[in-house]
């Protein structure tokens, strides 16, 4: 238990740091993240440029900071889209049961057959690259994830006595869902949100790595990695910083999720 709450603390600290960095970058970065300075291109880390500069002389630290804001906002919207549509869908399926439930779950099975990132690549490529379409493409694949987990968690709640009591007291499906089901499954959802948030950050980085996510000149971690690969022989460090940023962000969210799971849902604590 002590070990687990440590992962909660570490995860929360890393995640909070990421969010603050993203927030600060909106108001201030050491240099403008898009300011080109060809004379000082591919500079090694120094006091003036702590992380060095890229092939256009842009300050890598500033780009990483700005990248945090684009990465987090894409992931945030994607999760909001996924949870915003998936949770009601799953709750509805659980409340109604029968063929509606079957149909929803078969639909989810079908969606899971499409490799998520691949389809996101397809959608963004065909609908046009950019942060907006990346959010949607990643968000769409969060819908079945949230629908399924909401449904299975909600089904358990629906089987409990106090729901039956509420039913006999004359509450409708929506009333029971809002008053009894959602509060009871909230821990599961919160944990899933952190997991999906982490996955969305990786997906966004992947999309922008192949040039389909956030578009230049606005910096993104994935794009930075792609640029770095071109100059990997001359400036290998350029390939390190953005990757560390992605890994840290994901690690923080995963730790946060693990910690929350243990704190919020004691049933899942066994076996760890």
């Amino acid at each position: 238990m002590r070990l687990r709450s440590r992962s909660l603390v570490v995860g929360a600290v890393i995640s909070a740091t990421m969010v603050s960095v993203a927030g600060v970058s909106l108001a201030w970065t050491p240099y403008p993240p898009t300011a080109i300075d060809i004379v000082h291109k591919l500079a090694a880390p120094s006091p003036t440029h702590p992380f060095g500069t890229d092939h256009l002389g842009r300050d890598v630290l500033s780009m990483i900071m700005a990248g945090a804001s684009s990465s987090l906002s894409v992931a945030l919207i994607a999760v909001v889209v996924g949870a915003g549509l998936g949770v009601p869908l799953g709750a509805f399926a659980a409340a109604r049961g029968g063929w509606i439930d079957d149909l929803t779950m078969r639909g989810c099975d079908l969606a899971f057959a499409f490799p998520a990132l691949l389809t996101a690549v397809m959608i963004t490529a065909l609908a046009g690259p950019g942060a907006g379409n990346a959010m949607l493409a990643i968000g769409i694949f969060n819908i079945p994830v949230f629908a399924r987990i909401t449904r299975s968690a909600a089904r358990q709640v629906w089987g409990r006595d106090f729901v039956l009591a509420a039913r006999t007291a004359g509450r409708g499906d929506i009333g029971i869902t809002v008053v009894h089901v959602l509060p009871n499954i909230a821990p599961v959802l919160v944990v899933q949100i952190t997991i999906q948030f982490a996955l969305a950050i990786v997906a966004d980085a992947g999309l922008s790595y192949v040039g389909l996510g956030t578009q230049p000149p606005f910096p993104s971690w994935g794009r930075m990695l792609n640029d770095a690969q071109t100059f990997i022989w001359r400036a290998p460090l350029l390939a390190v910083f953005p990757g560390v940023a992605i890994t840290l962000a994901v690690l923080g969210l995963n730790l946060l999720g693990d910690g929350l799971q243990d704190v919020l849902d004691p049933r899942l604590r066994r076996g760890r």
């Binding site: 099975d109 079908l110 899971f112 057959a113 499409f114 490799p115 998520a116 990132l117 691949l118 389809t119 690549v121 397809m122 959608i123 490529a125 065909l126 609908a127 046009g128 982490a198 990786v202 980085a205 992947g206 790595y209 192949v210 990695l225 770095a228 690969q229 990997i232 022989w233 290998p236 390939a239 390190v240 953005p242 990757g243 992605i246 890994t247 840290l248 994901v250 690690l251 995963n254 730790l255 066994r270 076996g271 760890r272």
Partner: protein, 316 residues
């Protein structure tokens, strides 16, 4: 068992058909006229119409879907708009890169994760467990394409042992081809192995607490024998299920990884086809990939039923 198989096969076919319909509809709904893209912006309307006719794009949607599916069912994937060669031929060449890569990565991930997960579970709370799970926690967070870059940096640039990118083709010899796949496969496999090891560990810890493990010990089995003969087989169901799910992640991962290592696989083909609005190729590829995910998960279900007799009942 036979009834179970038939039922599962029916579901499998229905899912495949539904997947193809989804792909078809989505692709039609997305913007981008292949004819306009092939001919460029200056093309005249009658030339465009002629090309559309030639490509079969002017037929009614249901007819185009029906002919496409009809072709697929007999193995005819159609003809590429841009390459003017049968899609089947394009796919065949690329599959020889992507399939070995995916298989290599899955094998690597499984071979690493299961022993590591079991060892951690058996020494739960010990130094091995803590160390391994700490590494796994970081491994889970590593994006595979960045890991790919790091591997290039380490094993192709610092230590010039392996090629940084490209694929010489299997004609250059099995070893040369294999060498080119080592780094991409490791990049794909390690993050998956980290997840798999965590799940294996949790599953084995669960089954170690089961009564039948105690029964086995009461029969005189050593701790080790009870672990491998009773606890591990019972922990395999979630592990095998996860391997099936990871196959889908892996396919998507290959799309990016093939870009990192410039491998001429299905992932690269998807990209080129999308860029050129080669709809028939995109359609075929997505259905092929979705189909392989569905089939792999079907196989996983069969393996699970083979492991666990309780899953063999019809309707289970």
């Amino acid at each position: 068992m036979l009834g179970y198989l038939l039922r599962r096969l029916t579901i499998l076919l229905a899912t495949l058909l539904a997947a193809s319909l989804v792909v078809f509809v989505v692709l039609q709904a997305l913007p981008g006229d292949p004819a306009a893209l092939i001919l460029g912006t200056g093309a005249r309307e009658d030339t465009l119409a002629a090309l559309r006719h030639q490509l079969g794009l002017d037929a009614p949607l249901w007819w185009r879907y029906a002919t496409w599916i009809g072709g697929l069912s007999v193995g005819d994937l159609g003809t590429s708009f841009t390459y003017h060669v049968p899609v089947a031929e394009l796919v065949r060449q690329r599959v020889l890169v992507s399939l070995p890569l995916a298989a290599f990565a899955i094998a690597l991930s499984t071979l690493i994760a299961i022993p590591v997960g079991v060892a951690a579970a058996a020494r739960r709370g010990g130094a091995v467990d803590t160390g391994v799970m700490g590494v796994a926690q970081i491994g889970v967070a590593l994006p595979n394409f960045w890991l790919g870059l790091l591997l290039i940096l380490l094993f192709a640039i610092r230590l010039p042992w392996l090629p940084a990118s490209g694929f010489p083709g299997w004609d250059a010899g099995a070893w040369a081809g294999f060498r080119a796949l080592i780094l991409p496969a490791v990049a794909l496999a390690l993050p998956q192995a980290a997840i798999l090891a965590r799940v294996t560990r949790a599953a084995v810890i669960d089954t170690l607490g089961e009564d039948f493990v105690r029964t086995a010990r009461a029969k005189g089995l050593t701790r080790r024998a009870a672990l491998w003969r009773h606890a591990v087989p019972n922990a395999l169901i979630p592990v095998v299920t996860l391997i099936g799910l990871q196959f889908s992640f892996l396919l998507a991962g290959t799309v990016i990884i093939e870009n990192v290592f410039t491998l001429p696989g299905l992932g690269r083909l998807v990209f080129q086809a999308i860029a050129q609005r080669d709809l028939i190729v995109v359609q075929d590829l997505v259905v092929l990939l979705a189909g392989s995910v569905i089939i792999v998960n079907f196989i996983v279900d069969l393996v699970a039923a083979w492991i666990d007799p309780r899953l063999r009942r019809v309707g289970a």
